[in-house]
Each structure stands twice: as C-alpha cells, then as structure tokens.
C-alpha cells in the first residue's frame, strides 16, 4: 500500500489532522467536523455518481435514516445510547432503507432514476414531518451526547466533547471509510461498476448483472451516507425532517460537483469547501443562496471537473513541463 506515493501523502494528511484541534478555534474545528461528516457522505454518494453513473437527488433520505436512528434511539431507548451501538444501528437502518428505495430506483437510469430517488426521499420527508408524536415533526429531535465504551460525557459541554474524544473518533471512522471506499473502487467489484457506468449494454454482455450491481452500489452508497448522517447528528445536536428534503439532497450533489466527481478525493475536498463556503456566505449576506448558485454556475462553466479536477490537471501540466 505504502509503495504508492499517494498513500504516503494520505498518511501525512492524517498525521496533520491529528494536530488540528491545537490550532483551530472550537468554532472552526466544529465546522471542520461538519466537513468530515459530509466527506464521508461524499465518498458514498460518489460511488453512485462517479463510479456507477447514477445521479441521485434523494440521498438526503439515507442521511436522515442515519441521523434519525441516532436521535430516536436517544429518545426511545436511552439505555442503548452509546456510540458503539448507535453507529452499527445507523448503518443497519440506512442499509434497510437503501435496499427498499434502491430496489425501486435501479430499475431506471438517467433522469428517471434521479426523479424516483427524489420522490422517495420526499416520501420519507413527509413521514418525518407529519408523524409529529414519533419524530418531533418540524421541531425535530434533540440529540444528547452519547457514551463511548462506558465512558460518559455527562457534565461536559458539546464544544468540549467535539474538540476532544469525538474529533478523534470521527477521524478514525473517516480514515476507515476512506480506506474501505478506496478498496471498493479499485477492486474487481469497482471495475464492474465502472463498466456499467461506461456501457451498460456491453457490461450485460460480458456477464455482469447490471441491475443487481446497481443495487449493490446503491446500498453501499446509502450506508456511507447514513454513516455520515449519524456522525453529523452529534456535531449538530439536533435533527429535523429537512434532512430528507430534496434541497438537502441537492447540497450533497453540489458538494460532490464542487470537488469533482471524476476524482476519488474530489467529494472530500468539495465537502470541506462547501461547509465553509455555506457558513461564510450565510454569515455575510441574506442572499447566501445567490452566492451558492453563482458559485455553481462558475464551477460548471470554468471547472467542469471540480476543484480537485482542476488541481489534478494543473499538476499533470507541471509534471509534463518539468519533464
């Protein structure tokens, strides 16, 4: 693994990230944590968009599945409110939802797939919004601090929790997610998904069961997004039905495009930039949506391969020139 200089760079970045809490303010660190959770979401989302060629406008649903699993266990089963139970539970429920919704969606491709994914996520939104007595409706649910392997964080304020144990927990989960997803996309399974993306007719005629493999990709993607959702809840402290709304799903698409879906690291970079961009735009103008929209237009016109794509092609040019 470490024969590849890319992995050495990854390791150096990870080591740098370990020391980040010493240099960032609590506010900036929290923002960075939002970015990391969205980076996990981006990794999952890009398996479907970048590697399987399916654009979902409904991935907020799986994010909500992960987030609501945590919040509802907190409300209804507080005795089980521990990270080592919450994370597997969030993975399980986002997988179940992905199987159900994915089974319907992967029967179609292109715009039909996108619209179906969007419709199903809005169905979940309606349920979360209307079932007030269970889900808290428009008020949502509060997310208390969890325990971790018997360690209780009672009496600790959320910012302290987030800048201590939780930051390192988040970093470990992100590193594992990164390694697993890197393995998936470069494995024979990942190659089969790329074959489906490039030419589904030919993929079928070399013996790949296209619909089944699309469903596998959909489910893995949903689980990663659900994991991101579950981790996000502890940073945010509160969940609402909006997480399953198409606007939130659109933000997942946006951050993936921003980073670049043609490059493995693209959605990670996109997630981090988007988190800061959105917050600073919201903090400085009431027309923050205009800023986001204008950025998207500039992006599509000038950097169609996203920020990571532009950096990558610049790097290739520099290498070529130096040769």
């Amino acid at each position: 693994m470490f024969k590849n200089p890319r992995w050495i760079l990854y390791l150096l970045i990870l080591i740098t990230l370990l020391f980040i809490p010493r240099f960032l303010s609590i506010h900036d660190l929290m923002l960075f944590e939002y970015g990391i959770t969205f980076a996990i979401v981006g990794l999952g989302f890009n398996l479907l968009l970048g590697y399987t060629g399916l654009l979902s406008f409904g991935h907020g649903a799986y994010f909500a599945a992960g987030a609501y699993t945590v919040a509802m266990i907190g409300k209804y089963f507080p005795q089980a409110y521990s990270l080592e139970i919450l994370i597997p539970a969030a993975l399980f429920f986002s997988l179940v939802l992905s199987i159900i919704f994915g089974f319907v969606c992967v029967r179609h491709t292109k715009i039909f797939f996108s619209i179906l994914a969007l419709s199903l996520s809005m169905l979940l939104f309606a349920l979360l919004f209307k079932l007030y007595h269970i889900t808290g409706g428009s008020d949502g649910l509060r997310v208390p601090l969890p325990t971790l392997f018997g360690m209780s964080f009672k009496g600790i304020r959320r910012p302290e929790f987030l800048s201590g144990t939780y930051y390192y927990f988040l970093l470990i989960v992100f590193a594992i997610s990164f390694i697993v997803m890197r393995g998936i996309v470069s494995s024979p399974f990942g190659k089969a998904l790329q074959a489906i993306r490039d030419n589904e007719v030919r993929a079928e005629l070399i013996g790949i069961r296209v619909r089944r493999y699309r469903l596998y990709a959909f489910c893995i993607s949903g689980v990663f997004v659900g994991l991101g959702g579950a981790l996000w809840t502890f940073v945010n402290g509160h969940v609402t039905a909006d997480l399953s709304h198409w606007v939130f799903s659109g933000e997942i698409v946006y951050m993936t495009l921003l980073g670049g879906f043609g490059i493995f690291e693209g959605p990670i970079i996109g997630a981090i930039i988007f988190t800061y961009l959105k917050l600073y735009a919201m903090g400085n103008t009431q027309y923050w949506m205009f800023v986001i929209g204008a950025t998207l237009i500039v992006l599509v016109m000038l950097l169609p391969n996203g920020v990571a794509g532009a950096v990558s092609s610049l790097w290739t040019k520099i290498i070529k020139k130096s040769d």
Partner: protein, 247 residues
C-alpha cells in the same frame, strides 16, 4: 455446436428473420452476407439473447437457449462483438479486458482488494491483448485508439470470455481499407489458435472469401443460399440479388 430451427422474428410487417434454419459446427468460421435489411444483425441479436424470437428454437451445445438471458448464454460460451463498437470508454484497455475476465471467473463480487492484486487475471488479460498485438496499448483508454484497434479491442473482450461461439457483427466496418486485412489477420489468428466457432456478418467479399469456411446468404429474412465461398461467388441468384450483377 449451434443449431437454429425455424427461427422467426417479425417487427410488425417487417420479416426480419423468417423461419431461418442453420447450423454451425465446432471450429467452423461461417460468414453471413446479404443486402441491408436482410436480417443479419437481427439473427445475431437473437442468438446472443439481445432480442427474443417470436417462434423457433436455438440450440447451443444441445441446450435450448431460445429464451435464455444474455447472462446465461455468456456463461454457456456465446460471445459477441458489435457493429457499432461497444467498449468501456473511460477505463484502460487492460481494464476493458480484465473486467471481462473478472466477470467470467465470478470475481466481480470481490470488493476490497485492488484489481491489481489479482496478478493471474492481469497476466491473462495481457496474454489476450498479446494475441491481438495490443499489449503495448494496455494503459491507454479507448479514446486514444484508432478505429481498427477499437474493433480489435471489442473482439478481444468477447474473446477473453473464452467463448465457444463468437458472433462478430461487421468486424471491419469503419476500419480503413488498408487496415482491414491486418485487423482480420489478428482476429482469425487468435480464433484459430483457440478453435473457436465463429459467425461473422460482413459486407466485404474479399474478407468473406479470404477467411470463411462457409458462407450463408440472407435475403428478406430468409436463407437464400449456403456453401463454400467460391460456390457462393458463382451463384447466379446471389450475384443478382446481393451484388447486383446480372449475367
């Protein structure tokens, strides 16, 4: 090896394949010729499972595959290439062939170790590319290849599946005239080395007579004539209908 019995496929009033009977023996290279709309590609689509017939039977290695899915046919050993090249355009030439091999060996469910770790499959993919003199282009994507190389790669993918029967739909269409024989030489060399039965749809009579053991002529969905290439070239009805030569 392949027996087609009274196969019929009509599209409304168009009789694309109209009660066709034919047989292909083991190791035989058979060409199908005919005018545009004679039903050649429909016949290949029916054999490969891309279309389902209205009636009739297709037997492959004594198994009835008339309504079997393309997946089942591939697993039994029916491979095909396309008139319009069908490749995986954003992955390398090596990965185009390697993915076919992973699929053939049932390894595409393996989702954690990088594809490069399966060195035996990579070596086999390079061997397949070597057979078609393409291993030096293994790291290119199809967008960087010539039309002739794209055709060869399309066939190399079908070849990698270790098909017992290869269906080649116009393997030299779109290839520059100078390269046609070079393309066919490398394809037929690889096919003969493995003893694969082959059904070729082709318009170029030089190619047909140079590389086929037998020629089948189709016209308006029916088999009009069948025989050795030189016999077919002398057949008056074929000359008049297919080549437009009236003697």
């Amino acid at each position: 090896m392949l027996t087609i019995d009274n196969l019929k496929k009509h599209f409304g009033f168009v009789k694309a394949v109209d009660y066709v009977n034919l047989e292909i023996k083991e190791g035989e290279i058979v060409s199908i010729i005919g005018t545009n709309g004679a039903g050649k590609t429909t016949l290949v689509n029916l054999i490969s499972g891309y279309l389902k017939p209205d009636s009739g039977r297709i037997l492959f290695l004594d198994k009835d595959i008339t309504y079997a899915s393309p997946y089942v046919r591939i697993k039994l050993g029916v491979g095909r290439s396309f008139q319009l090249i069908q490749l995986f355009s954003n992955i390398t030439v090596l990965d185009n062939v390697r993915t076919a091999l992973f699929s053939k060996y049932g390894m595409i469910r393996r989702g954690l170790l990088p594809a490069d770790r399966y060195s035996s499959v990579t070596e086999e993919a390079i061997e397949v590319l070597d057979n078609f003199n393409m291993s030096d282009k293994k790291n290119l994507t199809p967008t960087g290849l010539s039309e002739g190389d794209l055709k060869i790669l399309d066939i190399a993918i079908a070849f990698a599946l270790k098909s017992k029967l290869l269906l080649l739909d116009e393997p030299t269409s779109g290839v520059a005239t100078n390269d046609k024989f070079k393309v066919m030489d490398s394809i037929v060399k690889a096919i003969k080395k493995e003893g694969i039965s082959t059904l070729i749809i082709e318009h170029d009579m030089d190619i047909v007579s140079g590389y086929s053991d037998r020629v089948i002529v189709m016209h308006e969905g029916k088999v009009m004539a069948e025989g050795k290439p030189d016999e077919i070239m002398e057949n008056k009805e074929v000359k008049a209908t297919v080549f437009g030569i009236v003697s």
